[in-house]
């Protein structure tokens, strides 16, 4: 058991959960400051929803602790937590109209009618639906229903709000609009929020920090910038942003780093590994130039696409497909042309090949 941090608003420590023989959450640690937005990013089935449910009190963890504002709520029922949830399916009440849904939690708390009405109006105007108060739920579009679900969750002024893939059902344009609106709204109400998504772009845009989840574990918890520049695992690298990577074996190692022999040639990495161990060497496409440099390889151009501000060049290096990103203005190599390309040692990432099978 790690001692809970005093300054944290929401603290999840040591949380594990099994369903039968499958471990769905394994030793999860996550501490959040008041008003912070953390995104859980990971492929389907990695345990994101389960972790949200643990925080909401809808699922009890097998081990570990959940604390909210210093209070242990691990075993507290949902209705004693004041944690709001925007469900993936929205879970709006079909027998109530928009105002009835938004005011549901307030009515339950026994507030006077006038107070409920003004709180409902306030919540609905935050999501720009004040004119829809007396519509039935089924008369709303998907985007509007999503906003009603959001208004319903914030109307009771929860101290933590959880979003389970709340935007994934919306079309791209609406989703992008909602992302910035939601971010703005959360800052306004100052709630601590956990946002679940499997869309990395959404994670990078929205969050203060991103927790990359893989098979029930948090692989890396970092701000978007660090996550992109210094991915902690090969999984975090492949899940966030574009990358090119090559697998190889360490042939020599010294104080400055190691040399890895890959199918395309030897590559230097700025990190020490045991000789003979299997290592993944990687970089981001924008660090690649078509000149010689620290880590230089030769390959055949298999395709080049102009995309305005940038161009993508696909290179086959001894059977491995790599993508390099060039500034839009540069002259692109021809298809079939043999090119040398390189990236600097400082932008070379490396991961132990045994980390993930």
């Amino acid at each position: 058991m790690t001692a809970p941090d005093a300054g944290l608003h929401l603290s999840i420590s040591n949380v594990s959960k099994r369903f039968g023989a499958t471990t769905v959450l394994e030793d999860i640690h996550l501490g959040m400051a008041k008003g912070e937005l953390v995104t859980l990013l990971g492929p389907s089935g990695c345990g994101k929803t389960t972790l949200l449910r643990v925080v909401a009190g809808l699922t009890h963890p097998d081990t570990g602790r959940v604390e909210l504002a210093g209070r242990d709520i691990t075993r507290a029922p949902p209705y004693k937590r004041n944690v709001g949830v925007v469900f993936q399916s929205y879970a709006l009440f079909p027998h109530l109209d928009v105002a009835g849904n938004v005011g549901f939690g307030l009515k339950l708390r026994g507030l006077p009618k006038a107070d409920i009405a003004s709180a409902v109006h306030r919540a609905l105007s935050l999501v720009h639906l004040e004119r829809y108060a007396d519509r039935p739920i089924r008369a709303l579009s998907g985007g509007q229903q999503q906003r009603v679900a959001l208004a319903r969750a914030i109307a009771v002024e929860p101290s933590v709000i959880l979003f389970d893939e709340a935007l994934s059902a919306l079309d791209r344009k609406l989703r992008e609009a909602m992302q910035s609106e939601l971010r703005h709204l959360l800052t306004q109400i100052g709630a601590t929020a956990i946002f679940v998504t499997h869309d990395q772009e959404e994670a990078l845009t929205m969050s203060d920090r991103v927790a990359v989840m893989y098979k029930g574990r948090i692989d890396q918890l970092a701000d978007p910038r660090t996550l992109y520049d210094q991915p902690a695992t090969a999984f975090a690298l492949s899940f966030v942003g574009q990358s090119l990577s090559l697998k190889g074996k360490v042939v020599s190692s010294d104080a400055d780093g190691s040399v890895v022999e890959t199918s395309a040639g030897p590559l230097r990495v700025p990190r020490r590994f045991l000789r003979g161990s299997s290592v993944i060497v990687a970089t981001r496409p924008e660090h690649v130039t078509l000149t010689a440099g620290d880590n230089t390889l030769t390959g055949t151009v298999v395709g080049a696409t102009f995309q305005g501000s940038r161009s993508l060049v696909e290179i086959d290096a001894a059977g491995t497909r790599l993508t390099a990103e060039m500034p839009g203005r540069c002259t692109l190599p021809e298809r079939g042309e043999t090119v040398i390309f390189s990236w600097p040692l400082s932008e070379t990432l490396s991961f132990s090949g045994e980390e993930h099978a």
Partner: protein, 265 residues
């Protein structure tokens, strides 16, 4: 060719409706006949047969019995059928489909067979109380209607609604009462309606289980027709018909007729 097919289909639909409604129209018309002949009225209308309904021998006890049995069996079926439907749709039981089929199967069984079967069964176990026997038999009739409707309703019900209720401050019982039951209200209404009507107008099962003192309204009505075929029975039928139509209209206002007939979506 396609147009012809549509015209033929429409004609068939209209004909089927007329065919189904014609007897009801005849009965309603006959009930206003001023003469004691069971005939279509030609010389003016009269309400004299309606005023005679209440004077029929044993009418009020029979009506009361039928209403009582229909209401009770509907209420019990609602509770039992809903719980069974929850178990079937949510319980992840092995063989829940077989259970569902068994629960709904009396719907497909001829009432006559059911009646004889129950009579034999009651006799063999020495169960002679006719009122409770009748109620039990009507449970067999109404339970399938409720179970079928509630299985359909629950399989469409999103159980995260209950969890949404919890996160908004409901305790478990509150979430059931404030979220699940009102959200399922349309299903409850449809189930009650079908169940009540199935019990209230049942003849083939009841006939085997009644004695001199416990006779349901449908049985009594057949007896009246055999004794004195005057338009009083037509008047009574018309009232029952009007009551049924009123119930359907109320239900339609509440949930929509197409959902009741099972023709929606």
């Amino acid at each position: 060719m396609k147009q012809l097919a549509i015209i033929v289909s429409w004609a068939a639909a209209v004909f089927a409706c007329l065919f189904l409604l014609a007897p009801l129209v005849v009965i309603a018309a006959a009930s206003f006949s001023p003469t004691p002949v069971f005939d279509l009225p030609t010389g003016g209308a009269s309400l004299r047969w309606y005023s005679r309904i209440g004077t029929l021998d044993g009418f009020w006890p029979a009506l009361w019995l039928s209403v009582e049995i229909a209401v009770l069996s509907t209420l019990i079926s609602l509770v039992v059928g809903t719980l069974a439907a929850i178990a079937i749709t949510r319980g992840k039981l092995p063989g829940s489909e077989i259970l569902a089929a068994a629960l709904v199967s009396p719907l497909m069984m001829p009432g006559l067979v059911l009646g004889i079967g129950l009579l034999q069964y009651y006799r063999s176990v020495g169960f002679t109380a006719s009122w409770s026997g009748l109620l039990l038999a009507h449970l067999v009739i109404t339970l399938p209607y409720v179970a079928r409707t509630m299985i359909a309703g629950l399989s469409r019900f999103d159980f995260t609604l209950i969890e949404a209720g919890l996160t908004l401050g409901c305790t478990w019982p509150q979430s059931i009462v404030r979220v699940m039951i009102p959200a399922l209200a349309p299903s409850f209404l449809i189930a009650s309606l079908f169940s009540f009507l199935a019990s209230f107008d049942n003849y083939p099962v009841s006939i085997f289980l009644t004695d001199v003192r416990t006779k349901t309204l449908p049985i009594k009505m057949l007896q009246y027709i055999e004794e004195a075929p005057d338009p009083t029975i037509a008047a009574l039928s018309t009232i029952i018909l009007a009551g049924t139509v009123a119930l359907l209209l109320i239900a339609d206002r509440a949930v929509g007729l197409s959902r009741m007939a099972g023709t929606a979506e």
